[in-house]
Amino acid sequence: MKAYLIESPVGLFLIDKTGKIVEKALFPRNPKDAALVFVEIRKGVLPAEYEDFTKRVASLDIERITVDNQATADLAMTIGGLSKVELNESDPAINRYRTRLSGMLVRLQLIESKDDYEKLVRDVSLELAKTAIGEAATRRDLFAVQTVRTIEDLDKVLNLLAGRIREWYGLHFPELDRLVEKHDSYIRLVQNLGTRDNFTEQALIDQGIPADKSQRIAEAAQKSAGAELPESDLAWLKEVCSSVLQQYKLREKAEGYTDKVLAEVAPNMSALIGAVLSAKIISIVGGLEGVAKMPASTLQVLGAEKALFRTITTGARPPKHGVIFQFAPIHTSPRWLRGKIARAVAGKLAIAARMDAYGGENQGVKMKAALDAKINELKTRYPEPPARKPGQNRTYGPPRREERGGRDDRRRFGGGGRDRRRWSPGGSGGGTGGGGGPRRHDRRDRERRQMNRP
């Protein structure tokens, strides 16, 4: 015989050609329990307590079961002795039976009335809604992790390629390297202006470079010690530039996408420290729940594991901040304030992460205002570096690498850095955390290249 298998919040029903229910497995009438069973059913799994349903169906001598969705098809496959499961998403008979199901159940006195059926569907849906809310949160944050890792990968590649272009064009116009810090600005100038005799003051201003800077670059171009760049070589270099600039566009888009995902996954964290940095933190920890479980003190040094380890093994000064150093209000502040600000940020961040993970309300804007106030208060309270205690040899030189979240991060972060050049054409505006393009390539590398200059 041929039959149809329909799943519903009330149970599983095997219906024959004549529209008769020939076998059934009824789910609990309590919506909570029904939802638990139904969730499994929709994954294509039949909970163990319904095993006898499969046995009974298997004994029925059925040649073919038709279903209208993949999960029910998977479930039907587990029924022994079936020769065929047919999946037809718009099977007219199933459509008909689905429409009539509540009426049939009333006639068989499996439920009291159609209203009862609807009420059960509604209550089960509410229960499903609650589980869905929980499950979705954990799933979506993994997407956020992937998008921010894409940004990090792009940054690595862009950094390498930009270094390559600087070295290459540097043969022709070595002085430009020092004068234009931002990679994408540098590449855009090469792409748009070509050989150095086109680097006139006016042309540079037209490219969005401020007047004084334009003048310096134009002067350098006139006096340049670099070699000639033949047209054919330039053409190929420009092609490389244009393809790298495309990648910058992609990076920008990736950031936009991260913003979007994070606004859903972690609106409170994003409001506080920006989407990209939030995503980086979620990425380091491996998920939003993990972040929510961390105490503020751990969040503060997250990403500075090497430094932390050194503290433990050698008793060195503990790190004051990890990846959250990339948050502009921390790294743009005077050094003696950074630790204090980092602590304040981490405290708020821990609360934000909990609200995001456990479905609290959206308080990001309020929390950000409170954080800003706290930072201002710290700035007025500690305007001067603390006096050095006798015998303590502590300087406020450049922070050690790991303090800044590791060397790699330092090279990569953009958005409003200490030595960020604001004049760059097409550069992204201030913003908090993340943002902007990669930092310049290794300084040592540059010095080496300049020593090798012809």
Binding site: T99, S125, L126, A132
Partner: protein, 247 residues
Amino acid sequence: MSTVKSAVSLDGSILSVRLSKHPKFGGVFRIDQAENRQLATMSLAPGKTVYGEMIYRIDGEEYRSWDPYRSKLAAAILKGLEENPIRPGSRVLYLGAASGTTVSHVSDIVGPKGVIYAVEFAQRSFRDLVENVCKDRPNIVPIFADARFTLKYRSLVPSVEVLYCDIAQQDQTRIMVENMRTYLKKDGQYLLVVKSRSIDVSKEPADVIKAEAAFLERNGYTVEEKIRLEPFEKDHAMLIGRKKEQE
């Protein structure tokens, strides 16, 4: 047809208003208070506001003002909708429920005999929908699903009289058509919100609307009304129609 009544607003102040049934649409009311004329629905969940709307208590019933700047269905009514497919008792499949602003009024209109199957795929909006709206309103079935995967909610949604689609996706008309094929009754009707910017920014809104209407016609649906929603919503329109009679 309407007389002056005294209404108590939520904060307890007593106002003098004129309450009348909407001349055309069941479940829709008008509350006029001096110069201020607004649409309203009779609340199915007394004492609760959903999005900060005004609540009036009149003759033992509660009415919620319906803001056309927040809800496109209200905007369409004010812009001269001829026929509202959503009536007391209707079953509605609502795609793109968001946090339930419009859904809450639809819930008031269809009343205890109607049902709304409210589909939303953004987690945050869905959470608000469930917490702030569905819990107080027994006629809403919240469904956390992507409207593109029509069959994922097959076992929860029966056939319906009305399909309301406001998902702001580029291919939303196609998505709605797929949902209509599975869920819309033979003589059922649809309401489609067209946001021309999310379909094609480079085209004139009027052209976008025309193209979407043509797509519906090609797929066997009539387009009986096209209502521009300005000034309430920029570059938005509402299309209303039904399945064509089978030749």
